[in-house]
């Protein structure tokens, strides 16, 4: 799926591709990454996705691991932007937004019963929880659990995945 990332330096939108990730993609995912992606890659009932620039398909900009808990519940097990897309010197914005929106779309496709369109996840950082509530409309439950409801997920999908492509 084609998506757009915002290049911070030029403030221009850049064509990127959000696609399934393979275990071979995890080889270079070591230095500066917080999660052990190779270890988590084979979680049961999970699918991994990566974002790469069309002009640099070998460099991963961010990763998502989407999981189905039981047979009904969509769960965003892990999401991480590449080290060069974190902090004050990050190169591209919208990486997390695109990956969250992909997980929201999957929650519509794979969620069953009353879980259809609901995406749940965990955040371990209090500051990040506040940002996810404010920016992405997630609802906090208990200490670390959050969920995004269908109407909000739909807005994120429209904003990050169906944004008009350039060319």
């Amino acid at each position: 799926m084609e998506v757009l990332l915002l290049e911070i330096a030029s403030q221009k939108l850049i064509n990127a591709e959000l696609m399934p990730a393979k275990i071979s993609d995890m080889k270079g995912i070591t230095d500066g990454w917080d999660f052990s992606w190779k270890k988590h890659f084979n979680l049961p009932n999970s699918k991994a996705f990566k974002i790469v620039l069309k002009s640099a398909p070998g460099i991963v900009q961010g990763l998502l691991l989407f999981q189905m808990l039981g047979k009904e519940e969509p769960y965003m097990a892990f999401l991480e932007s590449a080290p060069h897309n974190k902090g004050k010197d990050k190169q591209f914005d919208f990486v997390a937004g695109c990956l969250i929106s992909m997980a929201c779309q999957l929650s519509f496709l794979e969620g069953k019963g009353h879980y259809e369109g609901f995406l749940s996840f965990q955040c371990m950082d209090e500051k990040v929880i506040k940002v996810y509530a404010g920016k992405y409309g997630a609802i906090r439950v208990d200490r670390t659990f959050m969920f995004i409801e269908p109407s909000v997920g739909k807005q994120l999908i429209e904003e990050y995945l169906f944004r008009k492509h350039i060319n």
Binding site: G62, L79, E80, G87, V141, D142
Partner: protein, 168 residues
């Protein structure tokens, strides 16, 4: 001060999601999460619940168009799903679009193609644009043509065309 806060929030947008220890499905937090989702869903109107299902079908169509699958899904299969979740029977839908049921059955089974007229009706009825319904037919036609391999398309290129032009 406001700018400082905005800057901090901006930097946290790419914050990590996930617990390296995994999700403990026996934890109180997880039980509360499940209950909160159930409560939220139960607070929705029937129209909201139907919209979730129809949006799911729309995303399934877009997902099908985006991926390179060679397993053809006829547009009729998606129309069937729209009718099912809306609890509309085929006879009622045939009457609504002024078609006989035989022609509708052919459309639903993939024996008849979507044309612009029915695509416009579907756009007005369900949250899927007429252009998207038409794209489904286009994608399936391309997949069929590739599978039939009646021509070797790799032999065509602008360079070869230019070479031909020089000869003529």
């Amino acid at each position: 001060m406001e700018d400082m806060k905005s800057k901090e929030e901006y930097l946290l947008e790419d914050g990590l999601v996930g617990d390296p220890a995994g999700v403990d499905q026996n934890s109180e937090g997880y039980k509360k999460l499940k209950q909160a989702i159930a409560d939220r869903y139960n607070s929705y109107s029937e129209a909201d619940k139907l919209n979730i299902k129809l949006d799911g079908i729309r995303y399934a169509i877009i997902d099908y168009l985006e991926n390179d699958s060679v397993d053809i899904i006829a547009p009729g299969a998606f129309i069937k799903k729209c009718l099912e979740v809306s609890m509309i029977n085929q006879k009622t839908f045939a009457h609504y679009i002024s078609w006989n049921t035989g022609n509708l059955t052919k459309l639903l089974n993939g024996e008849r193609k979507i044309n612009a007229d029915i695509a416009m009706i579907l756009e007005a009825t369900f949250p899927v644009s007429a252009a998207t319904w038409m794209r489904l037919e286009d994608k399936n036609e391309l997949v069929r043509t590739k599978q039939e391999k009646t021509r070797n398309y790799h032999q065509y290129s602008l360079k070869r065309l230019q070479q031909e032009a020089v000869k003529v």
